[in-house]
């Protein structure tokens, strides 16, 4: 028992490291792959590292109250965030909130709103795919 308790964080960390998109998330990624290829024939696949950079970056074109994704979501995607109006936001990491990135209309709604709030422009299909790739691996 004691050994298991000691092992538990290790097991959890391993599970988190191995988190992978489920079928619903994969369907979204496939859709964004199609859009990315349509936009750029030389598209070479999504990158979790680029997604992480986008998530942590401080935008130079942001609306004043929302300079970064992390303003509301915090720098740890496995933790709950908080809107400026004080309401909790579920974690962005798939491992911490398994229903993330499973309904395309919702995903698109939030990208449309939040890319505009933080970047003052729409995100590209590649940025969206990078972001989801990063978050589904967290």
């Amino acid at each position: 028992m004691t050994r298991f308790v000691i092992l538990l964080p290790v097991l959890l960390a391993a599970a988190a490291a191995q988190a992978a998109p489920g079928p619903a998330q994969q369907a979204e990624l496939d859709a964004y792959t199609g859009m990315a290829k349509a936009a750029d024939p030389n598209f070479g696949g999504f990158s979790a590292a680029r997604g992480q950079a986008l998530f942590l970056a401080t935008s130079k074109t942001a609306r004043p109250d929302t300079p970064s994704c992390t303003t509301c979501h915090t720098t740890d995607p496995t933790k709950v965030g908080r809107t400026r109006a004080g309401k909790e936001i579920g974690p962005m990491a798939l491992s911490a909130k398994p229903d993330r990135y499973s309904v395309m209309a919702d995903t698109e709604k939030w990208f449309a709103r939040n890319c505009d709030s933080v970047l003052m422009r729409a995100c590209t299909p590649m940025e969206k795919g990078d972001f989801i790739t990063f978050m589904t691996g967290q």
Partner: protein, 388 residues
């Protein structure tokens, strides 16, 4: 210094004469217990009404209920108590009062075992004021807070008027209590009797007043009368209180509104804001208090229609009347309105910034019934973490 005959009593010593006269029973148990409980209940009402904030409304209402119960008892006891409890021994006509005042002026000292005419008038005035306070209080409670037996009937504006009269009567009763105490002190000195002690012991120095017809207390008759009144009034009040309040939101919250708007913030009841405010908000979702909160056209139209049909103009609650006037510098933010600022003036700014509350816009952090649009004072509970 010339001594006025009216004040001559101040300089005489007749204690030896009074000590020789055996005391007689005057104030029966009913009068004395009534008097003691009334002091208690009125003190609670005055303390919670004048000093404490609206957080103490519950205790104020309890005090008011006890006061009206005592007033009804006193009216019954005035018909069924012992001799000096009965209103038939209250000689409070203008003629009697005038004669009494003249007696004082002449320095005469005719004994009054019961109330003297001015004292009797004071007791009646106190009873009338107390009944008026309860009446206007119940009306204000119904109109402004949509609670109690008149919530179904009283409009918000009539409730405000009732509250103003209630406040005036409250000042009036303070003045009457002051006069009552001054009168008791004056009369105690004038007749060299401790009238306050008499109200506790029930006895006054004799001899008995032979002119006053004797009455025995009829407690059973009083009990029956009280039971009759209570049997009518209590179920009536309960039944009326259960009726839906006039202009209180009763419909369900639109699920799309609750889901979409409630995703980022407390889904403010539609009855809080005017149609004009909702209209501006729904036409500017792409720049919503500094963020993009846009929805697709169909959802925007359906939520806008729900808000329009349930806006403040359609209701009569305190909350629906409090934000009709917005701050021109921040015309869509309820928490920037003069009404919001006034209602929250007693709350420290630091309370709103704590994590447990999460900002001024998080109504439901403290208002347990915020989602219903009622905002009852009794349902306010500021999180403990926010108060440290």
């Amino acid at each position: 210094m010339a001594r006025s005959p009216a004040l001559a009593f101040l300089f005489e010593d007749n204690s030896a004469r009074l000590a020789a006269v055996p005391p007689v029973p005057v104030w029966d148990l009913g009068v004395r217990v009534f008097h003691g409980l009334l002091i208690l209940a009125v003190s609670v009402c005055a303390a919670t009404g004048f000093i404490a904030s609206r957080d103490w409304l519950g205790l104020h209402l309890l005090g008011g209920e006890i006061v009206i119960g005592l007033v009804v008892f006193r009216l019954v006891w005035g018909q069924s108590g012992s001799t000096y409890a009965r209103f038939s021994t209250f000689h409070a006509s203008w003629a009697a009062i005038s004669a009494h005042v003249h007696e004082i002026a002449r320095g005469e000292r005719r004994p009054h075992l019961g109330h003297n005419p001015v004292g009797a008038a004071m007791v009646l005035a106190l009873l009338v004021f107390l009944a008026g306070l309860v009446g206007t209080g119940v009306w204000a409670l119904g109109g402004v807070l949509k609670q109690g037996p008149l919530a179904f009937l009283a409009s918000y504006t009539s409730g405000l008027t009732a509250r103003s009269i209630h406040n005036l009567l409250a000042i009036g009763i303070l003045a009457l209590v002051g006069l009552h105490l001054a009168g008791v002190a004056f009369e105690s000195l004038r007749v060299r009797q401790n009238l306050t002690r008499s109200m506790i012991t029930g006895r006054k120095p004799g001899p008995d007043d032979e002119a006053e017809p004797r009455h025995s207390a009829r407690p059973l008759r009083a009990l029956l009368a009280m039971a009759l009144v209570a049997g009518l009034v209590v179920p009536g009040t309960v039944a009326l209180s259960a009726r839906p309040g006039l202009g209180v939101p009763a419909g369900a919250t639109d699920p799309a509104y609750a889901r979409e708007c409630g995703a980022c913030h407390f889904a403010y009841p539609a009855s809080l804001a005017t149609q004009a405010v909702w209209h501006s908000l729904m036409n500017g979702l792409d720049a919503h208090f500094g963020e993009n909160a846009s929805l697709d056209a169909a959802q925007t139209a359906s939520i806008a229609s729900y808000l329009d049909l349930n806006a403040a103009e359609h209701f009569d609650t305190l909350a629906s009347h409090s934000f009709r006037l917005m701050n021109p510098g921040d015309p869509m933010r309820l928490t920037a309105s003069p009404g919001w600022t006034r209602l929250h003036r007693s709350i420290a700014e630091s309370v709103f910034t704590t994590r447990a509350v999460g900002g001024k816009g998080a109504c439901n952090a403290c208002h347990q019934d915020g989602a219903t649009g009622r905002f009852d004072p009794q349902r306010i509970s500021i999180p403990k973490e926010a108060l440290n």
